[in-house]
């Protein structure tokens, strides 16, 4: 019996005795004293990115660019993301973000709400315009939006021009509302999710940003085999970079300077590469007129 006890003891204690274990006390009475690493005392530049694509994808794509901007203006950058375009607009409107990457319709809405101002606009793969695509699964019978009547449809965000405004505007032109036209509609809150939802036939169709769609096809050609485009919108100005109307003019100029010269150095070009952006240019306010008119039709603006 003593032998048995000894064996059990050896077995129980002998397993990890050789390891150098760290000792931690879990129960503690004192309030946690987590000391944060003290970084630069400089005020960070708060940059918000609308969830054109999912936050983690945005994070990966925009990280280098934001780092580059931080380096150029010699201030740390806070990368802000939210689930919806509306929240991004709110961040700009109430001064919680200094700079934002938004969608056309979000800009038009912000412009109308509090005078959101264009700072710069990107040129993507040589193009300064983009479109909205209505896509369906590759083997779908649908040839037009009309064929999707009574089907399930995926919007991206209520403030997306390509993901919501364009298809809604088309439905309106047909004299209907999305709620009655589609049997069911969902918001995915990012274009990549909409593409995936259509490819996986979770929905019968969806409206996506042409830039995102083509960008995704480059990354994953199989998506092209699973989906096809049945309707394209008119080309609109690429999604702009915006600021609050009452931004410090010096900062505004500094930022503009940085954006317009990114492509001039190697570091800047490699920061732009993930986003497929060639360079940033002065925005053309008229490029968004088509969106403005669609919004007026859909929302009943004067």
């Amino acid at each position: 019996m003593a032998l048995l006890a000894w064996l059990v003891l050896v077995l129980a204690t002998g397993c990890g005795a050789q390891d150098q274990r760290k000792k931690v006390r879990l129960a503690t009475e004192s309030k946690s004293q987590v000391t944060l690493p003290t970084t630069a005392q400089k005020v960070p530049l708060r940059v918000a990115v609308a969830p054109v694509i999912s936050p983690r994808e945005s994070f990966k794509l925009y990280a280098d660019l934001l780092d580059y901007i931080a380096h150029r203006i010699d201030r740390p950058v806070d990368f802000l993301q939210r689930m919806t375009y509306g929240e991004i607009n709110e961040l700009v409107r109430y001064g919680q973000a200094d700079l934002a990457f938004v969608c056309d319709y979000a800009f038009v809405q912000g412009e109308r709400d509090f005078g959101m101002q264009l700072l710069v606009a990107p040129v993507v793969m040589g193009k300064s315009r983009y479109q909205s695509y209505v896509i369906v699964p590759r083997d779908s019978d649908a040839r037009s939006l009309e064929d999707l009547r009574g089907k399930a449809f995926a919007f991206s965000d209520p403030l997306s021009s390509s993901g919501w405004l364009f298809p809604t505007h088309l439905v309106r032109l047909a004299g209907e509302k999305p709620e009655s036209f589609f049997k069911r509609s969902v918001f995915t809150y990012s274009h990549d999710k909409t593409v995936k939802a259509v490819a996986d036939k979770l929905v019968d169709g969806g409206a996506v940003d042409s830039l995102v769609y083509e960008f995704m096809l480059m990354g994953d050609p199989q998506l092209g085999d699973k989906t096809r485009v049945i309707r394209q919108s008119e080309p609109w100005g690429n999604p702009p970079v915006v600021v609050h109307p009452r931004i410090d003019p010096d900062l505004r100029e500094a930022l503009k300077r940085v954006f317009l010269t990114i492509q001039d150095d190697l570091q800047g070009r490699s920061a732009l590469a993930p986003l497929m952006i060639d360079r940033f240019v002065q925005p053309d306010a008229q490029a968004y007129d088509d969106v403005r008119s669609m919004a007026a039709l859909v929302t009943g603006w004067p």
């Binding site: 077995l11 931690v24 129960a27 009475e29 309030k31 987590v34 983690r56 990966k60 990280a63 990368f79």
Partner: protein, 516 residues
């Protein structure tokens, strides 16, 4: 030395234990050892597997948390983050804690309630190049596998999950006890089985022992039952065969014994008959010898009384007649003188004959003078120088013994005179405490066994008879040209027996007197 002693003690102990105990001991030992080994092995394997599984599960859970936390961190959704860690904790029994560290080192969500352990944050971390990292922590609640998985390569932060070994330990402990319990139960069953087995195994042996004892007592009727054809069965069969052979052998011996007893009885009857006859013969011989002696005595007395006196009277008459004859009748006188002389010689011859028959010396002076006289009177005239030697304290012997000794000496001397052509002869008497020995030797021609029995042989037989009658022995040794030696020894009765013997002899002599 010491191990050897221990070993020998163990050997002694195991050898002296009953077979039943040995078999049960073997069964118990084997089952127990097997069970113990299995338990330890299962315990070790189970612990290893479960630890491995615990870590794998921990990594999976942490990766899941990290994956789901990414968007929530990037969109500053702290409430959803808190929900995420809470549900993760709830859905994983082994999770002791879950927390998420932001990219700036702030804790964004955790499951510790109010107090976050201050030193927990720094003990583990993950980030490029390692997407996940495991650290074994020793806490007051036991060992905890702390898993760290970076979120978006650490740019968005780190998810940390602590997997506790407690439940694993309980499972392993429970399994161990269950296995030990099973071992004990199987041991009991095994012992019971071994007991039954030993019953089956040892019963034939014990029965064999019983039968062996019975056979030892001489009961051959018992048979060892043969249960099976195994070694014990073969032993039993061989034992039975042996018992049968023994029984058969004993029957034969008994039959032979009975035959012997019968023969013996027959022999005893015969022996008794022979003894009776011998006794009769002895008595007859004794009577014959006594009668002979008596007869000789009577003849001697008759010769003395009748013939001797008559002859004396004849001699005296002749003398008177001679004296009375005239001188001129000289031839007559001469004749008478011659007759007187003849008569005197005859008387002398009769006297010698008388003495030969029964020397009065023997009765009057005893054995030694009688033998001396006889030797001198018979050997010297024959030209043999006689010597009589006496050794030991002289004493009178029973008359029958003295007579026998004298007669033997007489016969020996007569033989020497008649056949030996010896120049010297010796008669030697030795008085021993319980016997009397006599030897008669001569340096004469001697003889061989092959010689035909003549008168000398008959005389020897007479000597033999007399000596044997008194319980003595006679040895004759002789060789051609080497002389002859007759040695006899006659046992003498003790004082008490001597009295008896003498009375017996008296009776004998008394009876002799009345014998005609």
């Amino acid at each position: 030395m010491r191990p050897f002693r221990l070993w020998s003690r163990f050997r002694c102990w195991t050898l002296s234990a009953p077979v039943r105990l040995k078999i049960m001991g073997i069964a118990l030992g084997v089952i127990f050892l097997l069970g113990l080994a299995m338990t330890l092995q299962v315990r070790a394997t189970l612990t290893g597997r479960m630890l491995e599984e615990l870590e794998q599960r921990g990594v999976a859970v942490t990766r899941d948390v990290a994956g789901r936390a990414a968007d929530l961190i990037l969109t500053d959704n702290l409430f959803a983050l808190q929900e995420l860690v809470r549900t993760t904790m709830e859905n994983n029994e082994d999770a002791r804690y879950v927390f998420i560290v932001g990219r700036d080192g702030r804790i964004l969500a955790h499951t510790f309630g109010e107090h976050f352990p201050p030193d927990l944050l720094v003990v583990n971390a993950a980030g490029p190049p390692a997407r996940s990292r495991v650290e074994l922590l020793e806490t007051e609640e036991g060992l905890i596998h702390d898993l760290a998985v970076s979120i978006l390569d650490g740019k968005a932060g780190v998810a940390r999950v602590g997997m506790s070994e407690r439940r694993l330990g309980e499972v392993v402990q429970g399994t161990t006890w269950l296995l030990l319990l099973v071992t004990v139960v199987v041991s009991l069953v095994g012992v019971a089985g071994a007991y039954l087995l030993t019953l089956v195994l040892t019963r034939p042996i014990l029965q064999l022992v019983e039968v062996t004892r019975a056979v030892g007592r001489g009961d051959f009727s018992q048979q060892a039952p043969v249960w099976a054809t195994d070694e014990i069965g073969r032993l039993s069969a061989a034992f039975n065969a042996m018992t049968e052979a023994l029984a058969r052998s004993r029957q034969e011996i008994e039959a032979y014994n009975r035959q012997l007893v019968r023969r013996n009885e027959e022999l005893s009857v015969l022996y008794e008959e022979v003894q009776r006859k011998e006794e009769l013969l002895r008595q007859l011989l004794e009577k014959l010898i006594l009668a002979q002696e008596e007869e000789r005595k009577r003849v001697a007395r008759e010769l003395h009384d009748e013939v001797g006196q008559s002859l004396t009277a004849v001699i005296m008459g002749l003398g008177t007649a001679e004296e009375g004859l005239p001188a001129e009748l000289l031839p007559m006188r001469t004749q008478l003188a011659r007759l007187q002389d003849l008569a005197a010689k005859t008387l002398e011859g009769i006297r010698r004959l008388m003495v030969d028959l029964r020397p009065t010396l023997l009765d009057d002076l005893g054995l030694i003078p009688a033998i001396q006289w006889y030797a001198e009177t018979h050997l010297a005239p024959a030209g043999v120088a006689p010597t009589v030697e006496v050794v030991g304290p002289r004493r009178r012997l029973p008359p029958l013994v003295e007579t026998a000794l004298f007669r033997v000496a007489q016969e020996g001397i007569t033989n020497i005179v008649k056949h030996a052509a010896a120049s010297r002869a010796t008669v030697r008497l030795e008085f021993r405490p319980a016997s009397i020995a006599a030897a008669i030797e001569d340096d004469g021609t001697g003889f061989t066994r092959q010689e035909p029995r003549d008168g000398r042989g008959l005389g020897l037989m007479g000597m033999q008879e007399r000596v044997t009658l008194l319980g003595g022995t006679l040895r004759l040794s002789s060789d051609q040209g080497r002389g002859t030696r007759i040695a006899i020894e006659i046992p003498l009765p003790d004082q008490g027996e001597e009295a008896l013997a003498s009375s017996h002899l008296r009776t004998n002599s008394h009876s002799l007197r009345h014998t005609p």
